[in-house]
Subunit: 117 residues, 4 copies
Amino acid sequence: MQYDSKLPIYLQVINAIKMDIINERIKCGQKLPSNRELAVTYTINPNTAARVYQELEREGVCFTRRGMGTFVTEDETIIKDIRTQMADEAIVEFLKKINELGISVEEAVNMIRQREE
Amino acid sequence: MQYDSKLPIYLQVINAIKMDIINERIKCGQKLPSNRELAVTYTINPNTAARVYQELEREGVCFTRRGMGTFVTEDETIIKDIRTQMADEAIVEFLKKINELGISVEEAVNMIRQREE
Amino acid sequence: MQYDSKLPIYLQVINAIKMDIINERIKCGQKLPSNRELAVTYTINPNTAARVYQELEREGVCFTRRGMGTFVTEDETIIKDIRTQMADEAIVEFLKKINELGISVEEAVNMIRQREE
Amino acid sequence: MQYDSKLPIYLQVINAIKMDIINERIKCGQKLPSNRELAVTYTINPNTAARVYQELEREGVCFTRRGMGTFVTEDETIIKDIRTQMADEAIVEFLKKINELGISVEEAVNMIRQREE
DNA sequence: GTGGTCTAGACCACT
DNA sequence: GTGGTCTAGACCACC
């Protein structure tokens, strides 16, 4: 994985895992790799891997069972919430930037459509 | 000015100045406030103000004449380029996130329109 | 290290490090001393040391991993490019001066050879 | 005239005038433009123009007669000395850089010849 | 431990 | 007065 040096690595890994969950590459209730495995697959420090799970747990995305490992939450609504929340954030941020640049929403929509053709 | 603690202050000031230029509150070739003035108006340290201008100069947004001050570039194309570049970045970033979330462009456009009503 | 007061210290340190890399006293991919170590060995302020690495990074000579340190780029071509680029600059500058002084290239070559005997 | 922002303007103007003298675009004993004229032709501040003549005078390149203006020295040996001194400086500096880069004199001479073809 | 940022205060050369 | 550089010391996030 390529890391963007501007963003903390642990946030980038968190994001990657969230995306895996949202896009169902990892299913609800499924076991996540151990700290050490995560550290290897993402070439990060074990401490950083631990922090990743810690944060994800704090957000309710996953939970840990002593001696068994870390699992994705079985509550599907949490996953959906995360998805809509991330979408919302993306839109708000985008509109803010567009507005600052003095570009109308219609113009922005046109630019988006052009990009996609 | 209110600063977002997530982003370095100098980047926020850089952005603010760019916006002033793009929206023609500051014109091409015009003199920018001195380091010390900038420091006062943005309530930052003169060193930070100096860094702001150094970065802007490196991006070609302004140039400096020894002992005379810092000026907005006289090349209008650079300003236009920066505007389109910033718009492009915003759009690309937005599409990337949307795509990661498995949201189609049409859906995204609808969501944008809803936000704005 | 003795500093030439005409040139900013940070540029002199940058140059010294580049020379260490070019002459393979420091190898590709190798870890560079930390900001604080550099500050001590070159008897400069840690801030100045940080600036040194920032500039070198901007030139692509090294990269930095958050919390881990600064490393020489692993791309050997960049190092070679820098060497040839520096040689080119030296030659162009020399020829420019020689030309301004109305000295022919052959004369200049002779003067160089005399100096070296 | 285009100024290199890295070097003080007054040094650049001094250099330009020296070159004019060396290449006999300005002859020995000839009157130089007044401070004000110099300021206009080089688009510099009159203070800077004054400094230029002050430095040139200090080096013996020119002298001033009260109320009459500034003149190039009538002593041709000074002009010749400056020329050889500048050539020497150029060569020494060049050899130093080449040496730092681990390039032999013969290689350097070849590179110079290639550049000129 | 590491780099990144920021403040404070100072000195200097240039215009 | 202007920008450029440097020191000193501090706090923070990251690994």
